[in-house]
């Protein structure tokens, strides 16, 4: 399969959304809203739930099932308020020693006037800094398109899994082609050279595992259960240090003494 076919699959409107994952994998979900500072940003969905009877915090980008739902959640493009809500939920998870599970599916952080005015950059950098030291396990599932800093901001994790048709990249193939070749039409060619498929990212060490899509929910459930059971056995110090080391090393193959 060509890389751009994966891009199209990753963006298919029929793909399960965070709300579907919440319904299929968790019980007793209670949604938490707002960043506690300014407003509720619906492009990030999050709350507390039970995963096989254990409390967890769930956070993810929200895409809609149709045009009207997508307008409502800004096509999963968060502003700073969305990232600050995610951050608030993560700090809360740390306090109550709940693992954090994040679902990534976004075209990127919203490039708008208000987003700039209220600190899009600061919201993302703070999220990266806090996740790098959060004293509770973090597992990320990239379910659709993971694009740019807007995806990274909720995926600094102990384990990252990608669905077999998910993509994760520095920018959308369209943006990449536009920046490097001044031709967004060369998106298919861009997708090929960007190395954005699950296989590519497993080789780069960005993804820790690939989840087959033959039975999505059962497979995601299995990946999450296995990852959490390993992570929960680690001491907090060990957990945080291993996460730090994992990010510190990107990518040591290219940094000779």
């Amino acid at each position: 399969m060509k890389a751009f076919d994966r891009v199209l699959k990753a963006r298919e409107i029929a793909r399960p959304k965070i709300t579907d994952y919440v319904e299929a994998l968790f019980t007793d979900f209670f949604e938490l809203r707002g960043d506690g500072l300014k407003k509720e940003d619906k492009s990030i969905y999050g709350g507390i739930a039970l995963f096989h009877g254990e409390p967890v915090t769930v956070i993810g980008h929200r895409k809609g099932k149709d045009a009207s739902e997508n307008i409502d959640c800004n096509f999963a493009m968060p502003g700073p308020e969305g990232y600050r809500k995610a951050l608030r939920l993560m700090r809360q998870a740390e306090k109550f020693k709940r693992p954090v599970i994040t679902f990534v599916d976004t075209p990127g952080a919203y490039p708008g006037l208000e987003a700039e005015m209220f600190g899009q950059s600061q919201a993302i950098s703070e999220s990266l800094a806090v996740m790098s030291k959060l004293r509770t396990p973090i597992v990320t599932i990239v379910t659709g398109e993971g694009s740019s800093g807007g995806a990274l901001a909720i995926s600094v994790a102990d384990r990252i899994f990608m669905l077999e048709n998910a993509i994760y990249s520095v920018l959308s193939p369209e943006g990449f082609a536009s920046i490097l070749w001044h031709e967004s039409a060369r998106k298919a060619e861009a997708a090929e050279v960007m190395k954005l498929t699950a296989d590519d990212l497993l080789k780069f060490g960005v993804a820790d595992g690939i989840i087959s899509e033959d039975s999505i929910f059962a497979n995601v459930d299995k990946a999450l259960s296995e990852a959490l059971s390993v992570l929960k056995k680690k001491s907090t110090e060990e957990l945080v240090e291993e996460r730090y080391r994992k990010y510190r090393k990107f990518d040591e193959r290219f940094c000779g003494a």
């Binding site: 790098s132 030291k133 990107f250």
Partner: protein, 267 residues
């Protein structure tokens, strides 16, 4: 009719603007005012070191690197080779130990001449090592940021530098280190959304463009022209995201003062 007094006053204002934003160039007898953007382009990392570090104090932190080309992107290695010749830099950041107004510090300076100072593995690694060196030696860290964002030619591993630099800087700050981030023209994208905006103290150089998304992308998204001064240093100060806007000629004095205020031995 413009009176002699008014003419002198205008001249003074023009001269003041020139001093603050631009370099003087004498062409025959006429003084040419160069726009801030043009000056920013011409101002190199070496110029910055000369203007900020005390004379003769700068010792570069050596970093030997292999070739960073994870996507084996067509023409990328050749482009970097040419830029190394042209700029004297190995990649878009210069880092070293120095003193500023007599106070020791670690300083890293990004240089736009090298692929718009975009952040790939080498830039991320040099920022991380500068922070680690500062942590091991108990020194403050000053980073002059400027960047177009993540380096596209290095793909996903360029994006991972955002997480890497943020993690290392955060650890340095948690250990008690002082991190002063100085945002210079332009600081955008993946650098703006990582270590650039994690300073204990954040300064912005007068007139600098600072933002997550570039102005062209925002205009395309919202379908209208952006207001005057949008994303400029002054705009960020007004919205509460930088401690102070500082003119280039004041920069060394401001940094010296901040280092003094954090130096236990001098107080």
């Amino acid at each position: 009719m413009v009176t002699a007094v008014e003419e002198r006053k205008n001249k003074f204002i023009r001269y003041k603007n020139l001093r603050e934003n631009a370099t003087e160039v004498l062409e025959g007898r006429a003084k040419i005012v160069i726009p801030a953007e043009k000056v920013a382009e011409a101002y190199t990392a070496m110029d910055r070191v000369r203007d900020i570090a005390d004379a003769g104090s700068f010792a570069e932190l050596s970093c030997e690197f292999g070739e960073t080309d994870p996507l084996e992107f067509n023409g990328y290695s050749e482009k970097k080779k040419a830029l190394r010749e042209e700029t004297g830099l190995h990649d878009a950041v210069l880092s070293g130990r120095c003193t500023v107004g007599g106070y020791p510090a670690v300083m890293a300076v990004m240089d736009k001449r090298f692929m718009m100072a975009s952040m790939g593995i080498e830039v991320g690694e040099k920022i991380a090592r500068a922070a680690e060196y500062a942590m091991e030696n108990g020194l403050p860290l000053i980073i002059f940021t400027a960047s177009g964002g993540a380096r596209m030619q290095e793909g996903m591993l360029a994006l991972m530098q955002m997480a890497k630099t943020s993690a290392v800087i955060e650890r340095f700050k948690e250990a008690g280190g002082l991190y002063i981030s100085v945002l210079t023209h332009p600081t955008t994208g993946g650098v703006s959304a990582s270590f650039a905006t994690l300073g204990d103290i954040t300064l912005a150089e007068l007139g600098a463009l600072i933002g997550f998304a570039g102005p062209r992308v925002i205009e395309q998204t919202i379908g209208e022209k952006l207001p005057e001064g949008f994303q400029r240093a002054e705009f960020l100060e007004e919205h509460g995201f930088v401690d102070r806007v500082v003119a280039r000629r004041e920069m060394k004095a401001v940094l010296t003062k901040l280092l003094k205020l954090h130096n236990k031995e001098s107080l």
